[in-house]
């Protein structure tokens, strides 16, 4: 599989997306960046230009406003009509307790982490399908592999995303479009700033390397770092009777 030549990135200002963009910029790839804050996007686009990106454009979008995501895709396609890759890296880690107490918090968390992404993925998928090629890489999470009391709102949105992606992959394989599900474990980013950083925490740059490799080679499901595949295998196989007694 060929390396991407142009990539549309949602959640471009996130630490993982930024580290991944750096690797593509070095290869001279063209980038279209989408995130919430226009000032951050400008700063990021200057940075990636210095790092060697061929061409960098951006638009602001809000994950709570699905139309803004669609507009961003349309803007991107105007700049890069031959767009060949998309990386979806946005999401938010909600406070589980707040979600339990407040319906709006729950809805918001599910919207940002699933509904919005499902809408924009179908839109871009239709385009890629017509085009007959493309790579769609989406950051889901190991949290979607089994619901746990401590973060099942986030986990269920990510779980839904993982299922959505496997369906999308099934649909698109005949048209030559690749769909890659990326499942990072704990990553040391601003998103997890309140977490005690144990041994399992990976650096964003290390996760980015895995995404870069997966996107260049067109893999299907990637756990990052690799050992999470085995950790989650164990967690998924714990019988419910025992699992329900744990505090995970």
């Amino acid at each position: 599989m060929a390396n991407p030549s142009s990539i549309l990135i949602f959640g471009a200002t996130s630490a993982i997306a930024y580290e991944t963009s750096k690797l593509f910029a070095k290869d001279g790839v063209s980038l279209y960046l989408c995130a919430r804050d226009e000032v951050d996007l400008k700063r990021l686009s200057d940075d990636l230009k210095v790092r060697g990106a061929n061409d960098v454009w951006y638009s602001a979008f809000n994950a709570l406003d699905d139309d803004s995501a669609i507009r961003a895709i349309d803007n991107c396609l105007k700049k890069f009509p031959g767009l060949d890759s998309v990386l979806v890296a946005h999401g938010s880690l909600p406070d589980q307790n707040k979600c339990e107490a407040n319906a709006d918090e729950t809805k918001k968390a599910i919207h940002i982490n699933f509904t919005n992404i499902a809408v924009l993925l179908n839109y871009i998928a239709n385009h890629f399908e017509k085009q007959g090629k493309g790579t769609i890489a989406v950051i889901s999470s190991v949290a979607g592999d089994r619901g746990r009391q401590s973060n099942y709102v986030y986990g269920s949105a990510k779980g839904a995303l993982t299922v959505f992606l496997s369906g999308l992959r099934h649909r698109l394989c005949k048209s030559g479009v690749k769909v890659i599900t990326i499942k990072p474990g704990f990553v040391d980013t601003p998103m997890t700033v309140d977490y005690e950083k144990g041994l399992l925490f990976a650096k964003p740059a290390a996760v980015a390397k895995g995404i870069y490799k997966a996107m260049s080679k067109g893999k299907e499901v990637v756990y990052l770092p690799w050992f999470w595949r085995w950790i989650m295998l164990v967690i998924r196989s714990i019988p419910p009777k025992i699992f329900n007694k744990t505090k995970l």
Binding site: A15, K26, V39, D40, R43, L44, D46, D47, V50, R51, G52, P190, V193, D194, Y195, E196, K197
Partner: protein, 445 residues
């Protein structure tokens, strides 16, 4: 804000607690964070200072971790504009493949641009280039009252002079502009020469100063009454990446020092053995080879967390500079004090500084000879050795390097940095550090 309230410096001594660490994700958020607390704050890059100049006991640290973006690079002039949290490592990774190198670099690439300015770091090319601050074109300083000052030799020159070497006390550096130097490839033509006494060192050093861009020496001053060591000098090589197959270079793989080392590893006998092996590793008196810049400039960066080698009690580095004299007796006294103490050091580095004056009001380098020594923290004996060394330095008109210091007395600092009183006027009222409170001679506030 993170949960880790115990932040260490690179020497892991002293260990002090903090209220927390702010890590703004862009420059515009810095002020809100400063205003959100009423405790004292200290900007911090990667925390590679050895002592307490990157610590702020019972206050906050303001990490520049996420202020890590490049703003612009001019391919014609080599001028790079970037945020203060960009690391030298990041600059090398991005620009060496394109034929550019740092104008000045210390012995580790894991420092930020802001930290390099605030400590006015120097490198193996001090005799030809001066300090990092001598190279910096301009930068922006953000004060806690929200003022953003553009600082250069022409604009706000006072703030330029006080912020370079100002240890983060004058405000937060948000971005800086520096000139990268053109290179042909990532290699260094290096020569290493064994010397058997200080006179030999001085004569090689003098003869190397004009023809070699980089010079530094490693000393084995434990084994014998005579100071012996290896003098290393080098220039950028014209060898390009494509000729690289001819070169037997080893870029060390990234390893992490796994745990705190047990103390027996640091006994005098093992250090002695290490020094002997290091000295005899080179068999010929004079060796020439082409090496990658990485092992040449950053031999210890290959082992992540090498500071754990010294165990949980940490280690102290002592670095001082003494002016040249006819006999250079100060440096001789310092070395003989170290030998007499019986304390053993893995790392003794000796270098002659050049005559380019640094532009920072509190910059460390001055024309003379600088010596850096690492010792495991063995307590009292070590501290009294350091006190004796301080005295020699002060009496000779020299000074100690704040970035390496964890224990010098307030009088030592104040008498060797006479501009300190003037400097105080430029300190940001919301900023402070453990180092500053210590050398000011007060422990509170």
């Amino acid at each position: 804000m993170g949960n880790d309230l115990f932040f260490e410096s690179w020497g892991r001594f002293p260990k002090v607690s903090h209220l927390g660490m702010f890590a703004p994700q862009c420059v515009d958020k810095i002020n809100d964070l400063i205003q959100s607390s009423d405790s004292l704050i200290l900007p911090r890059g990667l925390g590679r200072s050895y002592g307490d100049s990157c610590l702020n006991e019972d206050g906050y640290l303001l990490s520049t971790k996420w202020l890590n973006k490049f703003y612009a690079f001019d391919e014609n002039t080599g001028i790079l504009k970037c945020e203060a949290g960009v690391t030298l490592d990041e600059i090398l990774q991005t620009f060496v493949p394109r034929g550019w190198f740092l104008p000045v670099t210390p012995g580790t690439k894991f420092v930020t641009v802001g930290g390099a300015i605030a400590n006015d770091i120097h490198g193996k090319n001090h005799h030809t280039a001066g300090t990092f601050g001598n190279q910096v074109i301009r930068f922006e300083l953000l004060r806690s009252d929200g003022t953003r000052l553009l600082c250069s030799r022409e604009t706000n020159p006072d703030w330029f002079k006080t912020t370079i070497g100002g240890l983060g006390l004058t405000g937060v550096i948000t971005w800086a502009e520096l000139p990268l130097k053109p290179i042909k490839g990532p290699y260094i033509e290096m020569e290493s020469i064994k010397f058997n006494n200080l006179n030999e060192f001085f004569s090689i050093s003098r003869e190397s100063a004009t023809d070699y861009k980089y010079i530094v020496s490693w000393l084995d001053c434990i084994n014998s009454a005579d100071i012996r060591g290896i003098f290393m000098r080098g220039n950028h090589s014209n060898t390009t990446e494509t000729d690289a197959s001819k070169i037997s270079h080893s870029v060390s793989s990234w390893k992490t020092f796994p745990v705190d080392a047990p103390s027996f590893l640091l006994s005098a006998a093992t250090v002695k053995l290490f020094n002997m092996l290091y000295y005899h590793k080179q068999i010929k008196k004079h060796e020439k080879k082409i090496v990658h810049y990485d092992p040449f400039f950053y031999p210890l960066d290959g082992i992540n967390h090498w500071n754990r080698m010294y165990g949980n009690r940490g280690f102290l580095q002592w670095q001082g500079v003494v002016p040249f004299t006819e006999e250079n007796e100060a440096i001789r006294t310092i070395l003989s004090e170290i030998i007499k103490s019986g304390l053993s050091s893995f790392l003794v580095v000796l270098k002659e500084f050049g005559s380019i004056p640094p532009c920072g009001m509190l910059s460390f380098p001055m024309p003379g000879i600088t010596l850096a020594v690492d010792f495991p923290n063995v307590g009292g004996r070590l501290f009294s050795l350091f006190d004796r060394l301080d005295k020699v330095v002060i009496n000779s008109g020299g000074r100690l390097y704040p970035a390496k210091d964890a224990r010098m007395a307030p009088e030592t600092f104040q008498s060797s940095y006479p501009d300190f009183e003037n400097f105080k006027k430029y300190i940001d009222p919301r900023f402070s550090s453990s180092f500053y409170r210590r050398i000011r001679g007060e422990n509170n506030g």
